[in-house]
Symmetry: C2
Subunit: 443 residues, 2 copies
């Protein structure tokens, strides 16, 4: 604030007034948020326009001592903390869906702005939360819900608000990227790479939410909603994980010039009637080696945005972890706190476009199909005709000797998922085809 | 806006009220801004909360017909257009400094929010402009001033507001990146690569502002100011361009595993007394091939940000051109217009940290020094002792036969610019050294 700052805006508390924070949750992210709220406090006072003060921290066991936190700040009664008159901004970093939903709704309805890092909550209940925030005239921020410190939420909400986004594709789950990257660089099997990721702390004891793509699907729903100004929820997202990817798939992709990445893809589609729809999906994807997403290694995240006027943009960084997530949470805390002091609100979520979510069967993409076939003259003609009958042409065909007959790898031109489904069923019905080993989409 | 949106904030015009735009300038960017304001108009109405209407376009010759623009919108009297009561937001895309400064100040003082793409203006006069915006309680947006469509200004202003930034390094000038990339990939001389850039429209007829680094220096000043919450102006930025870079420099860098990039580097420094200062500089820099900035090719821009909690982030995209710049301008127009409807202001520039700009001589970096030396036994000992006497140790030494004696390339460990200056002067005074061909800093 400069000394010339002499106006307040609307319903702000006014320059110099303190902003009270309720912190819900004290896990890895919560502890970092608390620590940095102290460490950067003098800066936050300047950036917000008034001191930012933690009123209390809701935990499940308030009797447990926590280093660096005064015991009187701890409480097990999150609801009472939220309702305190001197609380202005509620930070939710508990995780889960039902309990945080209840708390976040209570906070919004009590006129508190909310900052949450909870992707599952936002992806499942965004409409309800946005409505509550809107009715109360308060802010709902969730930068940390997608790709932690990479500020893609703010970018879509604000910076790209003057453009028309066509496509968002991103590596938004660090665990699966770590596993796929390890498989590619070491030749390891999925099981071995997962074990290594678990050992190093990149994968949780129960890795299902990560490896089956559920975590990425929540993020895809949020990205699609913001990017296309419409509502896409977790249930709208077609989701396939990486647990079926084999070392052979990685190797075949590499030979063809691709890396396999688990991508969250959000597309704006225009039908033959000119009507727009959207799709959002998560699945393993062949990305050409020369594409910027292919070189995103280890547990890093990156989001690639294609907009009409801006062209292609990419944002890269740490997509998980206590510190990067806390950075995103605190950026939101500063924004929400500033609005409490000066008045004004962040741009609310705006789903005016109200676009239908296209049936997944209508999604068009290209496919990399790996088959075990009989090693006899004429087999290629038989297989090709299956594709030709469905009007799908082949881009590349590679045949090599396998242990049991021949291995045939084809890459198709674009086809819809439903057509492809029919082709795979037809292939599996052929005497000449022992097995369809894998079908992986191209980006 | 959803139907539940039932509050306005403070001094907003109110939901559904139109926002009047004055467009100053109709060059490449201005024409795109005008076109897209029409094309996206229905979307903007929804995103802003009221219709966005162009009241007039200030041009130097209003009698000239412009395709797609009603003649009655054109005016040569920018001041009268700005002062119109039905103008809320002024978009300045004229370029230059003095005349736009006069117009932007007039607009702010008249209570209009301003969106500008003018890096030179912001880098030279940010304090004066921020003060005028603050006193009038209006917004001053300039996302397009740095790296066009890459939303780095918004990111520093908002998303990273909860973090402490340590370093920003970026490729923020497309012309010079195109030239250096062409030199690296084709082996061309600087002159030939510049000629090619000019032919393809990447370089202007007078390329001085780009190739001498002035354009990048303006952007460095803006990035440092936002990132460190202090004021850094164009004059504070140490600036060296690329016109002295030779094909031999590029080749030597490549052999050592580096690409040469023109970087804008902004650093937070902590002195031995614990006091902080900042520096901002633009110069050709050796970037290790494995660093994400090394692979930024053609005229693309990328900004690499290192923050305490977030870690490393990179933002990549089109850093110039009518469309990408218009995208950034329009994102700002939506933001400023939304605030006019709903009340509230964007976070103003906040230079509270008030950090001194460190003397350039105190900058610490590593150096790649390319010399022509006598080809005689003992020359390396003589040269090494010059470095040793100044307490600078050598990281790598490479000697090869040259046409006139030997060529010696050393890479030093970190040293200050003033120490390095002394070393270079001492080397140039040695009988054994024919010439110091080049001194290039490492990133």
């Amino acid at each position: 604030m400069t000394e010339h700052h002499n106006t307040t805006y609307g319903n702000g508390k006014g320059e110099g007034q303190p902003v009270g924070i309720a912190l819900l949750g004290l896990g890895t992210v919560g502890a970092e948020v608390f620590r940095l709220l102290n460490e950067y406090n003098a800066d936050f006072t300047q950036r917000v326009g008034g001191p930012v003060e933690v009123r209390g921290v809701a935990v499940s066991d308030a009797s447990k001592a926590r280093e660096g936190i005064a015991p009187e700040l701890l409480t097990e009664d999150a609801h009472a903390l939220i309702q305190r008159e001197d609380v202005d901004v509620v930070v939710e970093v508990i995780g889960g869906i039902d309990y945080p939903r209840e708390l976040v709704l209570a906070a919004l309805r009590a006129g508190k702005s909310v900052v949450t890092a909870n992707k599952a909550l936002v992806a499942a209940h965004a409409d309800e939360l946005a409505k509550a925030a809107d009715e109360a005239g308060v802010d709902l921020y969730f930068e940390a819900a997608v790709a932690a410190a990479i500020p893609v939420v703010g970018m879509l909400r604000r910076s790209l608000a003057g453009d028309k986004i066509q496509r968002i594709s991103g590596i938004v789950n660090g665990t699966t990227n770590f596993i796929l990257d390890a498989m590619e660089t070491t030749g390891a099997s999925y099981e071995d790479a997962l074990a290594e990721a678990t050992r190093l702390g990149y994968a949780e004891a129960d890795p299902t939410a990560d490896v089956e793509g559920h975590d990425a699907a929540s993020k895809a729903a949020i990205l699609a909603s913001l990017g296309f100004h419409t509502r896409v929820t977790f249930d709208d997202v077609h989701c396939e994980g990486i647990s079926a990817i084999t070392a052979e798939d990685i190797q075949a992709a590499n030979q063809a010039g691709y890396s396999i990445k688990l991508l969250a893809i959000c597309e704006r589609l225009t039908g033959e009637d000119g009507k727009e729809s959207v799709n959002a999906r998560v699945h393993p994807t062949l990305v050409p080696k020369e594409h910027p997403l292919a070189s995103v290694s280890k547990s890093f995240n990156a989001i690639f945005v294609e907009a009409e006027a801006a062209g292609s943009l990419m944002f890269y960084g740490n997509g998980a972890g206590g510190n990067p997530t806390a950075s995103a949470v605190l950026g939101d805390v500063v924004g929400a706190s500033r609005n409490k002091v000066h008045g004004g609100r962040a741009p609310e979520e705006n789903t005016y476009a109200n676009l239908p979510v296209a049936d997944f069967g209508q999604t068009q993409t290209r496919y990399h199909i790996d088959m075990q076939v009989k090693d006899r003259t004429g087999v290629l003609a038989v297989i090709s005709s299956v594709f030709a009958e469905q009007g799908v042409s082949l881009r590349t065909v590679r045949q090599e000797e396998g242990k049991d007959g021949a291995r045939l790898i084809v890459v198709t031109h674009a086809a819809t998922e439903s057509v492809l489904d029919g082709i795979v069923r037809a292939l599996e019905g052929l005497d000449d085809v022992h097995a369809v080993n894998s079908v992986i989409r191209l980006s």
